[in-house]
Symmetry: C2
Subunit: 504 residues, 2 copies
């Protein structure tokens, strides 16, 4: 037990530490503004300067984090008498510090250089539908990432180390258990749906929908959902994303004039991410307590709003009349038809980003299995296309004709990102778990039907957003839902919803 005088010294030591972390975080957040700018408003010619600006900020934050002083402060504070919040901040910074200092700078630079070269190779390979163009770079990236994992933790499974980069507090065994369960349950369900005779009203939203009217509509939807425009904005971007801080959490979307559901769904998805960011505590801005937990939890918020609100009958009861007011050509569409169109399962789709709520997970699971085998060395790079295609045939009953719509479809590997994909599915699974827990307390459907989203938002703020990184991910899940992470709720939800829709 520290004496009062010692506690005082420790506090001021903690405050010094916090100042360092706040500056570090603020420089990182500045880089976030530059990236938003680059995606949304920067003129094309700005690229060379922007790359240098981002490199400079990245070098600055790396040096601030790995500075000896950071290590000394961490050592001192770990011996000090800290409260729960302070201990959480120290825990989070320690984790980042250990990772950053364990990997030699030369390796970080080599990875950075290789990914810079990898992106055009991947793009060319995809355009020319020729995997061999990308293969040598992919092989090099796999080697480098294995080496990276070896530095971080020589005793651990390298893929688990890479996964922990995106999801540090869910161990890979848990993730694997969830994904395996999904595969076991979803493969036969998707199979049954493919065999079903039920025809859903899949063409309810066919026609032409001008971009400006779609924009006006999605802005109204964001209003209705309760997006805080004082702390956010909506723009368009080729690949929708959300970014920012609790004071300024922006969303982007994109419009396809023949597909009004696309913009609606992607806007609600990004809104979900933004609710998390806007819900982080103001007074912890600049510290881990004012930052969101990891990718799966973030994705659980976007998926909650996209699927458990935006794809419900109740939501369509609320929103269809508003959509018809904007687009009179939809006047004859019924709520049931809209609901069916928003929930159709595409059993012949090969592309992840165009997938429905159900088959989406098979795209993830296939990528997960392939990249795990690549990193472990069980799979050679040259065999990726064949293994990829075999898995599509086995799990989804479809086989890509080309690598462009097969293993080359996604950009992530060219970024050197291995272990990122699983978080997409884990987020959806967690969304279902949170939804089930929420429904024990709130009549979600009635609230949605009445456009009363405030109570739902408050619930998520209280149970998820407001904690920042106070808890580790597994603790946060228990705190928010009363039990450990489980696929049960997602499976139950999917079987009930799609069973009813397709009579299977």
């Amino acid at each position: 037990m520290a004496t009062d005088a010692a506690a005082e010294t420790e506090l001021s030591e903690y405050e010094l530490f916090l100042e360092r972390i706040q500056r570090y975080t603020n420089v990182g957040n500045a880089a976030g503004v530059l990236r938003w700018d680059q995606e949304v408003v920067m003129p094309e010619g700005g690229t060379p300067a922007r790359s240098q600006q981002l490199s400079a900020l990245s070098a600055v934050t790396h040096e601030m984090l790995t500075d000896e002083e950071t290590g000394d402060q961490l050592d001192a504070l770990e011996d000090a008498d800290l409260n729960q919040e302070q201990a959480a901040v120290v825990r989070e910074v320690r984790r980042e510090y250990d990772r950053a200092t364990s990997v030699p700078t030369e390796l970080v630079e080599e990875i950075s250089k290789t990914t810079t070269e990898a992106h055009p190779k991947w793009k060319q390979a995809k355009e020319e539908d020729d995997f061999s163009i990308f293969a040598p770079t992919l092989e090099r990236l796999v080697e480098l990432k294995r080496e990276y994992a070896e530095h971080v933790d020589p005793d651990a499974d390298p893929y688990a180390v890479l996964f922990a980069e995106y999801e540090p507090y869910l161990d890979l065994d848990t993730a694997d258990r969830v994904l395996t369960r999904l595969k076991e349950e979803l493969v036969p369900l998707i199979d049954d749906i493919a065999d079903s005779d039920v025809d859903l009203a899949t063409s309810a939203f066919s026609g032409q929908f001008p971009e400006d009217e779609q924009e006006s509509f999605v802005r109204d939807v964001l209003d209705e959902l309760g997006y805080d425009w004082e702390r956010g904005r909506l723009d368009t971007a080729p690949h929708p994303f959300s970014s920012g801080t609790q004071f300024d959490a922006r969303v982007t979307t994109r419009f396809d004039e023949s597909d009004p559901l696309g913009a609606l769904t992607s806007t609600i998805h990004e809104f979900g991410h933004a609710t998390y960011t806007q819900g982080l505590p103001d007074d912890h801005y600049g510290t881990p307590l004012g930052q969101s937990r990891d990718l799966s939890v973030h994705e659980s918020q976007s998926r909650f709003w996209e699927n458990h609100v935006g794809r419900t009958r109740a939501f369509w009861e609320l929103i269809l009349p508003q959509m018809q007011a904007e687009f009179p050509q939809l006047d004859d569409v019924t709520v049931e038809e809209a609901y069916e169109a928003a929930n159709q399962v595409y059993d012949d789709n090969l592309i992840r980003v165009e997938a429905d709520e159900l088959t989406y997970h098979m795209h993830i699971i296939i990528r997960y299995e392939v990249e795990q085998a690549l990193i472990s060395g069980d799979l050679d790079v040259e065999d990726v296309p064949e293994v990829w295609n075999d898995k599509y045939e086995e799990y989804l009953g479809i086989r890509p004709d080309t690598d462009a719509e097969g293993c080359l479809q996604d950009i992530h590997w060219s970024h050197g990102s291995f272990g990122y994909f699983p978080t997409y599915s884990l987020g959806s699974v967690l969304a279902a778990q949170i939804d089930a827990t929420m429904r024990e307390e709130l009549d979600v459907d009635t609230l949605v039907r009445d456009g009363e989203f405030g109570e739902i938002m408050d619930y998520l703020n209280e149970h998820v957003h407001g904690h920042g990184c106070l808890y580790t991910t597994d603790d946060l899940i228990e705190e928010a839902t009363g039990e450990p992470f489980t696929a049960d709720y997602f499976v139950e939800y999917a079987e009930a919803k799609f069973g009813e829709l397709y009579g299977v």
Copy 2:
């Protein structure tokens, strides 16, 4: 003379130094992106986070600049055998380094704190038209800035030191000579114009001009002038400005539906700034050779395009038909009427930012005289309003009824900026000098009338923009115009132009 081996070592020492400077510049440029974002797109709620992000970047750049290593590198390089470009880079960094290291951090922080408090005081004082609300803070700022100047150079006139913050290579004597000459020549000229019986067609542009049509028109004008949209963009902002780098030089404007000349003029002005930025050499990005010279030179470029192109008869011959195509209500306006409306002298205007090309300088000269007397101690803060009003009566024959439209009208003092104002007039004077030199080589009026702006742009790129900070300001002026800085050309230009317009 260095041996080859030594030259090699020196080169690599120079390269290390350059790397440091490039990182420093890039972090500063990142802050520029954040400020653009704040003025143009940031939601209001983002302020608290943005302030912290900007403070963090500012602290980082300050530490990079004042790092002992920077000083050691400068010392070593000043003894080395450098070429002209390298020597210029070292000279510019040395200047910044010496300033930054000569002032104690506590004083910098105290000034920063006081200006943060000063802004709301100034705003309130202006709103309530009560100078006494702002006076104590202004007094404190004057003291602090005197102290600042004392640290930078205890032997120099403090106002000269502050002026050098914005204009390091034009000594205050030169500036004073130019401003005194302006006053001597312009006061009687303005007096004559006030007495003139000539009525210009000042209402040629009266009516309503919808914002979206004005925007479409000024975009066409930017196209016509040759703005490089691949490296820029146009947005709206309450106080128009331009910012960025050679790869991404953006402009802003604002629209008043009853005044289409306002947006046109301010857009051309900011375009002028952007041509300078876009014309800086790409391959020196991130170093002083890729950065613009100081405020007066920058203002010379905006004023050149605003006045020596945009307010000429030739320009109105070109642009009026295009303006009439956008606004048919102007169909009966003649080129002469448009020219007169664009060049009317407001002899009863009290507000700097609404002033014409001629009386504008009197607003600057008054502020210059007042702030010089404040810093020297010849004038007490409490006497500022009376002295201010007396000078308006003496020079312009008008007297402000309120401090809000008198000495409180401009924000700059609340930023702690003393010595900034003169650069506005110096820029206009330099624009006339450059214009006169250019006309010895190019038939500017014919080029403008024909919309052939490329040759004018090339001329300015070659003689001004492309040099970056290779030359000091006085050397650049001689290099570009063949003679030292002089007010002769501006006086000649003003007397000819306004003499003809007003028959005086």
